[in-house]
Symmetry: C2
Subunit: 238 residues, 2 copies
């Protein structure tokens, strides 16, 4: 993360057969019949991006529904002042740009590659066709959209009711090593800048809050790695 400015050149690579596991990993298309599956595959277009390149710029029209096959991206919204709020991190299996595809408006957020990335996309008309041809897909799509809505509602709630340190605590918890209880680190390294952009505040405030959390005994910061020393406590703070 923490990439600086970026162009948006995209390398369109020649179509190449999809590996099965990928399509199966896309929530929209699990459990389709073989014919249906090839119907979908025939419409997918492959696309690769370098680190820092944008798949989508907020405000621009776009009718592509994207799927992440490889690599991670950030989906963010930018303020006039240049600050960014990261709404989601995208990883293989995720999709994005549903909003623009389904309501026909401009892209509501920018999506930028955090590392070399492979994407596939469908055009709006193909999506709608698949949607009406395969009801299962329609069902999966509505489920996915509903989940997104649920997450955003919870984000709104957090922003409006919780203080920075609570939002930070929650962020740490959702990024903690899964199995581990106490003593767990984060699954992937996040810079303070990243964390700030994810919970909607400034980097310095994150630093301050991290110190507070350390004071309280919930976490320990060891050579800029965050260790959760008291998960219970952290959950209470969140």
């Amino acid at each position: 993360m923490a990439t600086s400015e970026a162009g948006r050149k995209a390398v369109k690579t020649p179509p190449r057969p999809l590996r099965r596991p990928l399509l199966e990993a896309l929530p929209y298309f699990t459990g389709l019949s073989p014919q249906a599956r090839s119907d979908v595959e025939a419409r997918l277009v492959r696309l690769t991006l370098e680190k820092g390149e944008a798949a989508l710029l907020e405000g621009e029209p776009s009718d592509r529904l994207f799927f992440v096959a490889k690599g991670r991206l950030k989906l963010l919204r930018t303020s006039e002042g240049g600050r960014e709020h990261i709404l989601r991190l995208l990883r293989p299996g995720d999709s994005f740009n549903e909003v623009a595809v389904f309501d026909g408006g401009p892209a509501p957020a920018t999506v930028m590659a955090l590392e070399p990335v492979t994407l596939y996309y469908l055009r709006r008309k193909d999506v709608l066709e698949l949607l009406s041809r395969y009801p299962v897909v329609a069902e999966q799509v509505t489920r996915y959209l509903a989940q997104q809505l649920r997450e955003l509602v919870s984000m709104v709630e957090d922003l409006s009711f919780k203080h920075v340190s609570a939002r930070l605590a929650k962020l740490l918890l959702t990024h903690a090593q899964p199995a581990a209880g106490n003593g767990a680190g984060l699954r992937e390294h996040l810079t303070q800048q990243d964390m700030a952009a994810m919970i909607g505040t400034a980097r310095e405030v994150v630093a301050r809050s991290l110190r507070d959390l350390e004071q309280s005994g919930a976490i320990r910061i060891d050579r800029r790695r965050i260790i959760i020393t008291n998960r219970k406590l952290l959950e209470e703070l969140a």
Copy 2:
């Protein structure tokens, strides 16, 4: 608005034929064939609520997709501290509880009647059946969900980037009399408490911001009615 606590008794009234205009006003079901229409109508259940009654409580399971036929409701999220954040005002033609119906989880928000209200609802299984039987419905539903997502993203952006006075200015603009330019009042009266709950702040802060806006010349407050005296300015502030 500004209703106090409320029970949640609901009066289930005997089924009665839907007036055509209503069904036509529901975005999901416009443009259906007559048979399709009666297929939908046969599954709708009618429900009335008194002012202050809840159609839905956040956290409770619910598999009903609701449609507003008459009256207004507020859709809100409550904090532990009892503060509420109003996410949307619902009026005839609106629907709610898509999230729980489509992802199968608990209701993400509470919905409360602001006045006597008539609702219709469909059960989850009927919704899914209609969805797969009539592709047009699937398309309308995904469009509607996408619009909701767009609005929530914009709400998140506002909360994270804008100050209270900007959020308030925006709120006033979206509630201003439609046609009118300067000199326009609000379409419906909102108490400061309402406004505070809609932009995620405290009532006193709204009062303070209103004074600021009046100072700046964007609005005038005349016997607790808000008049927009300089729409341009208000738009800049937002």
